[in-house]
């Protein structure tokens, strides 16, 4: 396979690096290698961390030898099996734009010389790709923000941004999965938890998923929040073929 570098890092890590660019096709190859490695389920593989254009594999050298692991990786890379067609999931994430939990919405509109409504229309019309999960538990790195609403980060980051905040930072958009410090501009809030340590599925999104934001009003926000608190809410997920 072209431009893939497999690098050994000390006695217990291997990093597989694709062309170092942020690109959907390359990210699909990352997902493909990750899924195949998980399917193999080799004893001694302790963790697999897929990112934009690389996969970091941690293994136990007492259980698995470097040469063997390298062979598995090369087999997958050379198998030429097209990126496996699997169901891609699109999550419809309801967002209350503005109000107390989206305090920077007006500023984002002003900086981009448009109305608040236009910002919301643009933000909700894209389908965003989850390239990777990292930084914080359940935090999705999303690709695909419309440049018309790109907005520089705050000069002074906030000490605490509440989980669920939907934000724009430079040419990226994201959802804070946990309470954390942050310098992105907060434009809204979703009642959907992206991370719940006590759940069987602690993290909502995974690499390869798609996200679409749906604008909701205060009533709807309250209703969804109540349903979530009662454990009754089920999120709207649209399944589609990966290759579409």
């Amino acid at each position: 396979m072209k431009s893939v570098r497999v690098k050994r890092v000390d006695i217990n890590y291997i990093v597989v690096e694709y062309e170092q660019i942020i690109d959907i096709e390359i990210n699909k190859q990352v997902t493909c290698l990750t899924n195949n490695l998980r399917k193999l389920d080799r004893e001694g593989v302790n963790s697999i961390i897929p990112t934009y254009c690389s996969v970091l594999i941690e293994y136990d050298p007492l259980v698995l030898e470097f040469e063997n692991l390298l062979e598995y990786i090369n087999e997958i890379l050379n198998s030429n099996n097209e990126v496996e067609s699997e169901l891609g999931r699109t999550f419809n994430i309801p967002v209350l734009y503005g109000y107390e939990k989206g305090p920077d919405l007006l500023e984002v509109a002003k900086i981009n010389n448009m109305s608040v409504e236009e910002v919301i229309t643009i933000h909700t019309s894209e389908v965003y790709k989850v390239y990777m999960i990292g930084f914080n538990p359940g935090y999705p790195y999303l690709g695909g923000l419309d440049k018309r609403i790109a907005t520089p980060r705050l000069d002074e980051p906030r000490v605490r941004v509440p989980a669920g905040s939907v934000a724009i930072g430079g040419e990226q958009t994201g959802i804070y999965s946990t309470d954390s410090p942050g310098g992105w501009r907060l434009i809204g809030h979703t009642p959907i938890p992206l991370f719940d340590p006590t759940s069987n599925e602690p993290v909502l999104l995974k690499a390869g998923d798609n996200v679409k934001f749906i604008s909701i009003d205060e009533h709807e926000y309250k209703r969804i929040k109540e349903e979530i608190d009662k454990g009754k809410y089920s999120i709207d997920i649209v399944l589609e073929n990966y290759h579409e």
Binding site: I11, Q20, N46, S47, I48, P61, A207
Partner: protein, 335 residues
């Protein structure tokens, strides 16, 4: 459930087990003990599996009061441990009786002390683990432990009176040699900088914690190529924009965007866990095959220790011998 009580929690004491390495792809940090060797030895000494939960105490250790019979072991930083007021050695199993008090409040050298309990700490597992990740509260005890906390334990006993060779223990140095191998972004740095890195002495900064150990020394500034965030190995050496190294430790974020010039070899990660602000280190480049050889030598020593413990017959009776202000633990065995 049996438990012990912290009559003094110490400065920063947490519960750690083998952690959540396998959940890093969800953005969840690995956590686990900073000194992986000391925690592992403590567990071996009390007959536990290596993933059993232990206490990790930082700066000053806790004072523990036992309400039950059990066996414990102290490892890691050098402490002036006291059992009911009498000095007691580290790196060996200590038979505990109900009512005993173990005082670890004086740490003489090193930073982190580990205490293992036969049968292990039995707090609720969250996300497959009992490990504490301080920035986030996953479970009831996922925080700095407090004076008055009662921690559930299985309270098994494990009568055994073997000790650990000094070379496996923490040893204080004026200058620690930290051996490194190439990191994922090693080629981002010119050869001159890689040479500067090992020619200088780096001092541990105050701003070090379970996420990373920061150093102050010769700046390794290179024309920063923007890199795309990738996974962060345990012990990798990141270079910040200011040119200073940070070594990524147990609570590191799983992914990040600073270039990783090097990775500290597996054998030397425990040393890092014992570094205090102001301590000095010198980096040294070695090859992966040397790292593997050192690793195998260490594993052989640990295997031998395990073998000795497994081959020892259970003693018939355990005794405490008090001489001066010290207590010695011993046993009688039928021939």
């Amino acid at each position: 459930m049996n438990n012990f009580e912290l009559t003094n929690a110490g400065m920063l004491t947490t519960i750690q087990d083998s952690g959540r390495s396998h959940l890093q792809h969800l953005g969840i940090p690995a956590s686990g003990p900073m000194d992986i060797l000391a925690a592992r030895l403590a567990n071996i000494l009390v007959g536990n599996e290596s993933d059993a939960a232990v206490l990790e105490a930082t700066y000053t250790g806790p004072v523990i009061r036992f309400n039950t019979e059990t066996t414990v072991a102290i490892t890691g930083a050098k402490t002036k441990a006291k059992l009911n007021g009498f000095e007691v050695d580290s790196y060996l199993p200590i038979a505990i009786k109900s009512g005993d008090t173990l005082d670890l409040s004086v740490v003489e050298s090193g930073l982190r002390v580990y205490i293992a309990f036969a049968g292990g700490i039995q707090t609720e597992k969250v996300l497959d683990s009992r490990a504490t990740y301080l920035p986030m509260k996953f479970g009831e005890f996922d925080r700095k432990l407090k004076t008055g906390d009662r921690i559930p334990i299985k309270a098994k006993t494990f009568n055994n009176y073997l000790s650990v060779d000094t070379e496996l223990r923490f040893n204080r140095h004026d200058l620690y040699d930290i051996r490194i191998v190439e990191g994922p972004q090693c080629e981002y740095f010119e050869d001159k900088l890689k040479q500067n890195m090992v020619d200088s002495i780096y001092k541990v900064s105050q701003q070090s914690d379970r996420m990373g150990i920061r150093f102050i020394g010769t700046e390794l500034i290179t024309e920063q190529k923007d890199m795309i965030s990738d996974g962060i190995p345990l012990g990798s050496v990141q270079i910040t924009r200011g040119g200073q190294p940070i070594i990524m430790m147990a609570d590191r974020q799983p992914t990040g965007g600073y270039p990783k010039i090097a990775k500290v070899i597996q054998n030397d990660i425990p040393k890092l866990a014992q570094l205090k602000p102001g301590d000095k280190i010198k980096f040294k480049w070695i090859s992966i095959s040397e790292s593997l050889k050192l690793f195998q030598e260490l594993e052989d020593k640990i295997d031998k220790l395990k073998e000795k413990i497994n081959n020892q017959q259970s003693p018939n009776a355990a005794y405490r011998i008090y001489i001066g202000d010290k207590v010695y633990l011993t046993s009688l065995q039928e021939k």
